[in-house]
């Protein structure tokens, strides 16, 4: 700004100036600790003792033969899949419906977005209560004639993971709706009018106008949902601690049990690194698919 904009120096310096604040904070407080965790994953550190020994790949070897790890791994995938379907799929549908409604729109939109502001601990408390055998969910099912679907949610090996995923989605779907709504503003209204004139049904204009226009935003929502859902900890910990038995054990709760509660920090770090690698792979695969679709 104070430099001559045309000068070579300014050209060179600009990217540095723009990037520096974000990159400096980010490397110091996020990347550096992450590298430390990778380092710890090669040790037998208990997380407390000042001494630790390097044990090579032992923690990772243990990981591969650890049955519980693979259970948690599988659960994490199911968990994320359910959340993505709701947050991205339903979130998109709701956002585009909201965009078509005028009456009572603000009230409806507010109601849908509000759960986002509730702190995770309160979310857990609320849903624990909702999911009790005689809780609100089962009572509502009874009233609307779906009594056959009643189940002891938090105690059911088959239902618990899905039930918690729905609870998590309840508290996060509003974010997707907001981001989709923000994205919908960028869609040229004339496209809809043109589609209308061409005799397109609302469903067709959703398919041929909204969806393509929202593709970049969808990518944002998808990746956000994917990465956030892999990291979820609070709601599972505060409702079931991974139970019953280990039917809702996901990687983050398993990492916490091993690393923090069982003083096996090195092994917990290895689980953390595995978690990081898995999310990265999932994100890369998605981005590849996205790119292929675009080209």
């Amino acid at each position: 700004m104070f430099l001559d904009p045309d000068s070579k120096l300014a050209q060179r310096l600009n990217p540095v100036l723009f990037l520096l604040p974000a990159v400096a904070i980010y490397i110091l407080f996020a990347i550096y600790p992450t590298i430390s965790v990778v380092e710890y994953s090669f040790t037998d550190w208990d997380g407390i003792n000042p001494n630790r020994n390097y044990i090579g790949l032992e923690n990772y070897e243990r990981l591969f033969s650890d049955k519980i790890f693979w259970e948690a791994f599988r659960n994490t995938f199911v968990w994320s899949a359910v959340i993505i379907v709701i947050n991205v799929g339903l979130g998109l549908v709701i956002a585009s419906m909201l965009a078509r409604v005028w009456k009572a729109r603000l009230i409806i939109q507010t109601a849908i977005v509000l759960p986002v502001v509730i702190s995770p601990m309160a979310v857990a408390t609320i849903w624990r209560w909702m999911y009790q055998p005689k809780g609100a969910v089962n009572q509502v099912l009874e009233v609307i004639g779906l009594g056959a679907f009643k189940t002891p949610w938090l105690g059911s090996p088959d239902a618990v993971l899905y039930a918690l995923a729905v609870a998590h989605s309840w508290s996060t779907m509003g974010l997707s709706v907001i981001i989709f709504l923000a994205g919908l503003q960028a869609v040229d209204e004339h496209l809809y009018e043109a589609a209308k004139i061409d005799g397109a049904s609302p469903l067709q204009s959703f398919r041929f106008v909204t969806l393509p226009a929202l593709r970049p935003v969808t990518a944002v929502v998808f990746i956000l949902t994917l990465t956030q859902s892999f990291k979820v900890f609070d709601i599972v910990w505060a409702t079931t601690q991974g139970g019953p038995i280990r039917f809702s054990e996901i990687l983050s709760t398993y990492m916490y049990k091993r690393g923090a509660l069982e003083n096996d920090y090195g092994y917990g770090a290895a689980i953390g690194v595995a978690l990081l690698v898995i999310v990265s792979l999932a994100t890369i695969v998605y981005m590849q698919l996205q790119n292929r679709q675009e080209s």
Partner: protein, 437 residues
């Protein structure tokens, strides 16, 4: 009045000793973990301490959730953190803290301040190793069968004293439409562990438990298998309702105070919430000792310390920290304050109890235990004294027992496997006891 003066003069001497830099206040940080409502009493006593000791400022930070340890451990291992703090006790929990050299040796204080008169032998065993004392085991907790006297009266039931009577009570209640005769919050894993601690103790006796914890006994010993089988059998007979594993503890206690569930096995920490929830009906509730499960079996009251008070090894205010511990547990005023808040300090209670104003239900809990005190006691919370790995295995296994997907033999074998592994890794404190002086 006599003792008040005595402690008073002790406390007068303290500030002269402490207030070396006359103007600046000595800041001492205390971290307390525990239940909401129960932690406030430590703050109350700290405030009294501050008033009695100008120049000292104890700041109490309360942490009620299980995120307490993850917040504490990084600070400690960085050589920082609180001067005094509460933490789990042995043989499993603090081994890493002690091995890491992060906590101070309190043996000197033990002898200097006559702690032996307050802390019973059974608790020393859990708070010491290598002949050294590592923490001051603070409050004692026991567990018992809470029951609704009004419901019992309505159905002509009296407190059962044998297993046959217990079966009759449960049968009557189920016939009367109580789907859940004995509430059990299996979704939270620890309430099942309280059952486990009690029933293991009943079948194995105090020696049987100590034999495993501090010697070469095994969790696969016959009494533990039998105890697990009994617990599973009760679950399969729906004594805990159709789906105990789906029930949360908070929700269960709400139903209990509302009179929807006649019995539940729990501890004194519920009393405060119960008084609030039940209001005048609180007098409907009382506590009994679960009758012997087998003919000829003895009743052993459960007895555990909630946690222990530790002092950071490199704290500059160890003397103040010890004075604070003394003010809480060695001083009658402190003990009365604790009792008034429903916290039962270690050691003889007669003197403090006479002055305290405890809720009746809290008194009932202790009476139910005291009647059998001569038999010796067993741990109330095995999960707080065993290493984390065993706790995880027990928690998961107990849910599996209740769901019927694990046999008692498999369960005890899994426990033993985790226990043996921790033992082999040196994660267990050596047999307790303090070196004689």
């Amino acid at each position: 009045m006599q003792h008040k003066n005595l402690t008073g003069s002790l406390l007068v001497a303290l500030p002269t000793f402490l207030a070396t830099p006359a103007l600046s206040q000595t800041e001492v940080v205390v971290w307390v973990g525990g239940e909401p409502g129960q932690t406030t009493v430590y703050e109350t006593i700290a405030n009294q301490f501050n008033e009695e000791n100008p120049g000292v400022n104890l700041t109490v930070v309360t942490n009620t959730s299980d995120i307490f340890n993850p917040a504490l451990v990084p600070a400690l291992s960085a050589g920082e953190g609180p001067d005094v703090f509460t933490f789990g006790t042995g043989p499993g929990q603090p081994a890493a803290l002690i091995a890491g050299g992060l906590v101070a040796d309190l043996t000197d204080a033990y002898y200097e301040h006559n702690w032996s008169q307050t802390i019973p032998e059974g608790i020393i065993v859990q708070t010491s190793s290598d002949g050294k004392l590592w923490s001051y085991g603070n409050e004692v907790e026991t567990t018992g069968m809470f029951y609704n006297k009004a419901i019992f009266a309505e159905h002509g039931l009296s407190v059962p004293t044998s297993w046959a009577e217990m079966e009759a009570v449960v049968e009557t209640l189920m016939a009367a439409g109580f789907e859940t005769p004995i509430g059990l919050a299996g979704a939270d894993k620890w309430p099942v562990s309280h059952w486990q601690s009690m029933i293991f103790g009943r079948y194995a006796g105090p020696e049987g438990i100590e034999n495993v914890l501090f010697s070469d006994g095994s969790w696969t010993d016959e009494p533990f298998v039998q105890a697990s089988a009994r617990l599973q059998q009760m679950g399969q007979a729906d004594w805990f309702g159709p789906t105990p594993v789906a029930i949360g503890y908070g929700e269960l206690m709400d139903a209990f105070w509302a009179g929807e569930i006649p019995m539940t096995f729990t501890g004194p920490w519920v009393v405060g919430g119960g008084i609030e929830a039940a209001g005048d009906r609180i007098s409907d509730f009382s506590v009994f000792a679960v009758p012997p499960f087998e003919p000829g079996q003895k009743i052993y009251p459960t007895n555990s310390i909630g946690s222990g008070w530790y002092i950071r090894v490199n704290s500059e205010h160890k003397e103040i920290a010890i004075a604070y511990i003394n003010r809480m547990f060695q001083n009658v005023e402190g003990r009365v304050t604790l009792l008034d808040h429903g916290v039962v300090p270690v050691g003889p209670l007669e003197e403090a109890l006479a002055m305290a104003n405890m809720p009746q239900l809290s008194v009932d809990i202790w009476k139910a235990a005291d009647d059998h005190a001569a038999n010796g006691s067993v741990p109330a919370f095995l999960d707080t004294i065993t290493p984390g790995t065993l706790t995880t295995v027990s928690y998961d296994g107990l849910q599996a027992l209740l769901l019927g997907v694990m046999t008692p033999e498999e369960f005890t074998a899994a426990m033993q496997e985790a226990w043996a592994a921790s033992k082999a890794a040196g994660e267990i404190m050596l047999p307790g006891g303090i070196a004689e002086r």
